[in-house]
């Protein structure tokens, strides 16, 4: 296997890494303690020691097409044992963050989501978008009816139609980013002559995603693995509940669904899972700030948006049942947050679902995992 070895050095890329949480990476003196204490790395060309070297040289091409940065779950063992305080875990997180920005299509959306100063604009877009759709639907005023009905505020057809259209565009952009990432993966780590079969490679990836079996090997923060598992399954439940709701609406069933409806039950179970997992993650991120496992703007923003979606969703349900007008306001916030979550997926930390999955698949296909 002769990989293309890029040798170019990019000082701008290095500066980006330093800003994105890798500010201590230059302290690394290449002792490789990190590669040895890591419980997730393969034995052949282990990480993160080589990434630390490439990062300090600003070797952009090597790092962007490096599947290993996505095999890391940032348990922080390497940073704890690092004799120099070079924070390999945070450096890999910074490389991932810069990667997401690099593969962003269109690139201005990557900057919009990544830079804190653009946050007002990033939030204004969904607000304006939703107001515009409401204006088109002719429901820009709060419904006057006695009973709170969300469909009176935002007709389902308009909601599902407009959000689906934008999400379709997002998916297109995400695919473009993903294909560029895949191309770089193959350039840096060519698939061998006889790669593992498609299903043979895919099955362990699916298994890993649904069980978090590799994540669970991160012994330093085992509650984080459980918390992430909660968030993951909570999100899946809520996604399925949303699909069920859309189907019910399309098929003309009873809507809002009664509490005992399987879709409703699924949604509420998901909400509990996501809230408890998300709470643990956010608490840890806030409490360890400044120590190992520093958190960046992107880490905190993504978690906050996810929790906002969940909390406002739950509150909308309660206020609607209590027949309170505040349900409309909460619903509006909920929709802004949902828009943010889904439409900015390829540019926020959410993009890890894309890149990590691809990297895992690539690692299985090439026999790296």
């Amino acid at each position: 296997m002769s990989a293309h070895v890029p040798t170019s050095v990019d000082p701008v890329f290095l500066t980006e890494l330093l800003k994105a949480g890798g500010e201590n990476l230059k302290k690394c003196y290449q002792c490789a303690t990190c590669s040895t204490v890591c419980t997730l790395t393969p034995d052949h060309r282990p990480f993160p020691r080589k990434e630390m070297l490439w990062a300090s040289w600003g070797q952009r091409e090597r790092l962007l097409g490096d599947p290993d940065i996505w095999l890391c779950h940032q348990c922080g063992d390497c940073s704890v044992y690092c004799p120099r305080g070079a924070d390999p875990a945070e450096t890999l997180a910074a490389i991932r963050e810069v990667s997401i920005r690099h593969y962003a299509v269109p690139s201005f959306l990557g900057r919009l989501v990544a830079e804190p100063r653009f946050l007002p604009l990033a939030l204004a877009i969904p607000v304006v978008f939703i107001l515009a759709v409401l204006a088109l639907a002719g429901t820009l005023t709060l419904p006057k009816s006695e009973i709170v009905r969300l469909a009176d505020f935002f007709p389902h057809a308009w909601l599902n139609g407009s959000f689906s259209l934008v999400f379709l565009a997002t998916c297109g952009f995400a695919l473009l980013g993903a294909s560029r990432f895949w191309r770089d993966l193959q350039r840096n780590w060519p698939v061998p002559g006889t790669p593992r079969g498609l299903f043979e490679s895919l099955l362990p990836v699916v298994n890993e995603i649904i069980t978090h079996d590799r994540f669970s090997k991160c012994t330093a923060h085992d509650h984080r693995y459980l918390a992430h598992l909660g968030v993951f399954w909570g999100f899946i439940c809520l996604l399925l509940a949303t699909v069920v709701a859309i189907l019910v609406i399309l098929l003309g069933g009873d809507y809002p669904m009664p509490l005992y409806h399987p879709g409703k039950l699924l949604g509420n179970v998901g909400m509990v899972l996501l809230l408890s997992g998300g709470y643990v993650l956010l608490k840890e991120r806030l409490s360890t700030a400044g120590k190992t496992s520093r958190s960046t703007y992107q880490d905190l923003l993504f978690l906050s948006i996810l929790l906002t979606v969940t909390v406002t969703g739950g509150l909308v349900q309660v206020t609607r049942m209590a027949n309170s007008q505040s349900a409309y306001y909460l619903y509006f916030i909920h929709l802004v947050a949902v828009f943010y979550l889904l439409m900015y997926l390829p540019y926020s930390k959410f993009a890890h679902v894309l890149y990590r999955t691809l990297a895992l698949f690539h690692a299985r296909r090439t026999g790296r995992l």
């Binding site: 290449q30 002792c31 590669s35 040895t36 204490v37 034995d43 060309r45 080589k50 004799p83 305080g85």
Partner: protein
């Protein structure tokens, strides 16, 4: 010549050197030592750089020079309590622990036979045990037995008192405080090996065949636990291979942030000596950077010429124990980019030096705990490893210079 009195604290190789150099040009020297014998860490070495001689030959000459020089006053089992006064006129308070064994002792050993208490032998870094009354080592100076007061039952037992034909043991002795007036003070309190149990992932203290470099020196010494045979602690068998783990707790922000300068050469020397004594044996040295300064690069060349000494660039960060007592050390071999798991019979951790300076107002230390010569008043000096980690020959040069400083100070 203006005759001055100089206090030297610590009678390791540096303190002895300063004391003798000052005394032999005609000054009075008070040499105090915390332990019951002179010689310090050097007495515990197997062989040392640059000529790789055993320590006894050099120490013997120095002990004779002290013995023959009436201007050196030696106080063993004595600690520095305080320094008062100013440059040129210090009053120093000293505390001598009870000298239960006096100079009537002939080192016949009758006391050892009756002593019921055993203790870890700190001269052998815990690899062996002695009785509570013990001869520190074969060439101890002064040549007499000592009592470990932390474990001895004293008058409740006093079997040794009855066994001693020379009435050399006297448990009625008390602490003695006394003061000396001196012109200047030279601290030569030396160093302590870094506590390897603090490096959790290297498992010293939980895996018996993980030892430290100072313990390896004892194993290699002719007067060591097995008379120079390298046998591992768990089963007293010769290990078929040894892994040397460099920078164990050194150059590490979590432990000692500095380099102790001698450990690379010490491990290379250990590997060569192990190979000489075990022609079938194999040695692995895991390092970050191999530091062989000056003419000692020859040692590195000898190491490289031996195909059974394998140099691996990459720090060991995990050690697992097998049921037989052998160990699997794990590191990334940086030059090949592959994880390396090596099964070995014994592991030697190259631990660094920590300074032993007394906590006194007049003794200012740097960020790592070493003597800060710039911040301390003229008149108080430090020699050898009190200033920085040094090898023996550099410590000797420094100690000789400090003798002159102390005379002038």
């Amino acid at each position: 010549m203006d005759k001055k009195t100089i206090l030297v604290v610590g009678a390791g190789i540096s303190g002895i050197t300063t004391a003798i150099e000052a005394a032999e040009v005609g000054h009075e020297v008070v040499l105090v030592e915390r332990l019951p014998y002179l010689g310090g860490r050097v007495a515990q070495l197997g062989r040392y750089f640059p000529k790789l001689c055993p320590p006894y030959c050099g120490l013997e000459i120095n002990f004779r020079r002290i013995k023959n020089n009436p201007r050196v006053q030696v106080h063993t089992s004595t600690e520095l309590v305080s320094i008062r006064g100013d440059r040129g006129a210090y009053t120093v308070e000293l505390l001598q622990k009870p000298q239960y064994v006096n100079d009537r002792c002939t080192a016949c050993g009758a006391c050892v036979e009756v002593c019921p208490v055993t203790r870890d032998d700190d001269f052998n870094y815990g690899l062996t045990t002695t009785k509570a009354i013990y001869l520190p080592h074969e060439m101890a100076y002064p040549y007499r037995y000592a009592i470990d007061t932390s474990v001895c039952m004293k008058l409740e037992c006093k079997k040794c008192v009855d066994a001693c034909a020379y009435r050399a043991i006297d448990f009625s002795r008390q602490d003695q405080r006394f003061e000396v007036k001196v012109h200047s003070v030279v601290l030569a309190t030396g160093w302590t090996p870094y506590d390897a149990t603090k490096i959790e992932n290297l498992r010293y203290g939980s895996y018996r065949n993980v030892i430290t470099n100072v313990q390896m020196e004892r194993l290699l010494a002719a007067n060591g636990p097995h008379q120079g045979l390298i046998l591992r602690p768990s089963d007293a068998k010769a290990p078929e291979s040894i892994a040397f783990v460099q920078c164990a707790g050194s150059r590490d922000d979590n432990h000692l942030p500095y380099c102790s300068t001698v450990c690379c050469l010490a491990s290379m020397k250990h590997a060569l000596e192990y190979r000489e004594r075990n022609p079938q044996g194999k040695a692995f040295i895991f390092y970050i950077d191999l530091r062989a300064m000056g003419r000692n690069e020859d040692v590195l060349s000898r190491v490289k010429a031996d195909e059974n000494i394998v140099l691996i660039k990459g720090k060991v960060a995990r050690i697992d124990e097998e049921p037989c007592g052998s160990l699997v050390v794990e590191a990334e071999d940086i030059l090949s980019g592959l994880k390396r798991k090596e099964k070995v019979g014994m592991v030697v951790l190259a631990t660094g030096m920590t300074p032993n300076l007394p906590a006194l107002d007049k003794v200012v230390v740097d960020e790592f705990g070493f003597f800060n010569a710039e911040a301390v008043e003229e008149g108080i000096f430090a020699a050898g490893c009190d200033k920085a980690p040094l090898d023996v020959s550099s410590a000797l040069k420094d100690a000789t210079g400090m003798a002159l400083k102390a005379i002038q100070g």
